[in-house]
Symmetry: C2
Subunit: 342 residues, 2 copies
DNA sequence: CTGAAAGCGCTTACAG
DNA sequence: CTGAAAGCGCTTACAG
């Protein structure tokens, strides 16, 4: 008798909108409207549909909706790491910004790899996302191509794009690197080392700011830069401190490209009996929670990562809705946190 | 002339399989097969389709595939936090386990909230997931109901289910709490405090293990337990140390339910001039990277979080493929890391 | 090995 | 305010 029983059905077995409509005694269309545009349906029918939805435990099929409506309510977020507190804060901001909407977040972890970013983007683009949130300004050629041909709105997070056509939310990594170096110079340090790991674009821009400040002060010396491609960890910070001191024994300050490295460097100093900051000043970047609590507390750059996520998502949301944003580039700034270690 | 041009088209504008097929001069079906079951298509046609795919930059529409095939290749992962390194390691394990497959991970952050878990699950179930990975064994009644009626395979991560019908991968949080307490007792401590935050099920089980060990040794004293619902942070650890000492001044050891709290407690001791472990032994749980590096280094429980994610995903994967798992419960154990702080 | 037909569960026009 | 028809872009049987 029922259509779903006839012969070889390919049905999923789940409750469908048609079943809800039948249960409520209305057309499928009316049921659809009662759910997505309730103000267009008379209170009576709306009530009947709502009751049927509840009684049957109906859950809409997202794939069917996406296919029929040609938009998915999916927003793709690609971050280079999930173990780094910076990006989990960015994600928290995004989630909070989008909490009230019915967006589905597709979170991808590229692990600082172009190949992984390409792969993830390829998979995620298959879901026809309404928008994309990316970290950074530079991507592989293939990623750029995929992004362009997808025609999906994109917001770049973390740094500021020079190009006003590109939506970006963040702060100048270059300026922050410059400001921290300038701070150390003003404190009277002259042999200021820079320790960089991972060598992602943000680290390289901070290093660029460091170099400019050193140049301006006539203090530049290539031996003072220790750069490695490995992921940043406390252990690596401890190791690179050793490498720096072996190379430049009279080094009097070290600017670590992030707090993990700075913490490792400080712990290592404690083990070697090097007094921080008296014998060696050490500072970091990002202001992780431990930096305020360690002894000595760590001088570092406070970054608005939660707000970067939040504002990026709000900007993307407005663009998806067809609004013209007031500004295409949002500078959220940074804060130098002068504490005990430098 | 072309069908897509006639009148009011609802087409998305993207390249479709039909377009690929036409370009290759084959039927849509053959193009479909050439992509998903290439071994069933003659080398010649397969080659033509592959070339057309590349030339046109075809990306399959996931919604259409999901709708037609009644399975989505989506796996839902719900974790209570993304800022906690424990769960980001679990996620890394899951991602690595599923890397080769074409699964799409839907990662949800429940923030330790039943309401958020319900909401996320409701949204994610709309995508018809092939499987679900959850943290913990106990969920709200509504979540349980949704899970049951969805009939989607589920693996519970972190702890071990008593019920053999339930798939679980983890270790006994209770036993770990018991072992750490036993260790402190064996060291001669008698006034052992327990500091717990968040009060999620894992913390409560660890506290249960602590209480049992204290009972067994005849050392139980309710005043020794400081429990608060706030999220665990270094700052909270520092604060709860103060609260514990105010309440039990002669406390000689403190078992913190996780490393964040332990770190905060130790930093606070340093600021107050309390020597760790001589005056007060402090230990944590999870073995975060900093625990091995701090001075003093932190005694804690090493947990196999990456492997929990990896093995959970492998187990779920095999169940989705219709295999019968060798065991429904996988105990990955824990390791007591005896270091300087206790 | 290949293909014409039907259908997955929704929403978009359109008509009333 | 309500509904019958068509279509989104795929895959599943089935037939050849």
């Amino acid at each position: 008798m029922t259509k779903t029983r006839t012969g070889k059905s390919r049905a999923s077995g789940r409750i469908t909108l048609a079943a809800v409509a039948q249960h409520a005694g209305v057309a499928t269309m009316t049921a659809s409207r009662a759910i997505s545009q309730p103000e267009l349906v008379s209170p009576e029918l709306r009530g009947r549909v709502e009751r049927s939805v509840a009684e049957l435990g109906y859950l809409p099929n997202r794939a069917a909706r996406a296919l029929a409506s040609a938009h998915s309510n999916v927003i793709v977020v690609l971050v280079p790491s999930l173990s780094n507190a910076v990006f989990t804060a960015v994600l928290a901001g995004i989630q909070d910004a989008l909490d009230a909407d019915d967006y589905q977040l597709l979170i991808g972890n590229t692990r600082y790899s172009d190949a992984k970013e390409e792969k993830l983007l390829g998979i995620y683009l298959q879901s026809n996302p309404d928008g994309i949130l990316l970290c950074g300004l530079s991507h592989s050629e293939r990623v750029e191509k995929m992004l362009v041909s997808s025609r999906v709105p994109i917001v770049s997070m973390m740094d500021l794009a020079g190009d006003p056509d590109q939506l970006s939310v963040g702060f100048s990594q270059f300026d922050a690197g410059h400001a921290m170096t300038r701070y150390l110079i003003d404190k009277g340090h002259t042999r200021i080392g820079f320790i960089g790991a991972q060598l992602d674009e943000r680290t390289l821009r901070r290093a660029g700011g460091y170099r400019k400040a050193m140049d301006e002060a006539g203090l530049a010396d290539p031996r003072l830069q220790v750069m490695v491609g490995d992921p940043s960890t406390i252990t690596l910070g401890a190791e690179l401190l050793g490498r720096m001191l072996a190379r430049v024994p009279d080094c009097d300050a070290i600017f670590c490209c992030n707090d993990d490295l700075a913490h490792g460097a400080i712990y290592q100093c404690q083990r070697r009996g090097i007094r921080v900051p008296e014998q060696l000043a050490i500072c970091g970047f990002n202001d992780l929670p431990a930096s305020a609590w360690m002894n000595p507390s760590v001088t570092t750059i406070g970054t608005p990562r939660y707000r970067i996520g939040f504002e990026s998502a709000m900007l993307l949301r407005s663009v998806i809705k067809g609004e013209t944003p007031a500004a295409t580039q949002i500078d959220l700034g940074f804060t130098l946190m002068a504490r005990e270690s430098a």
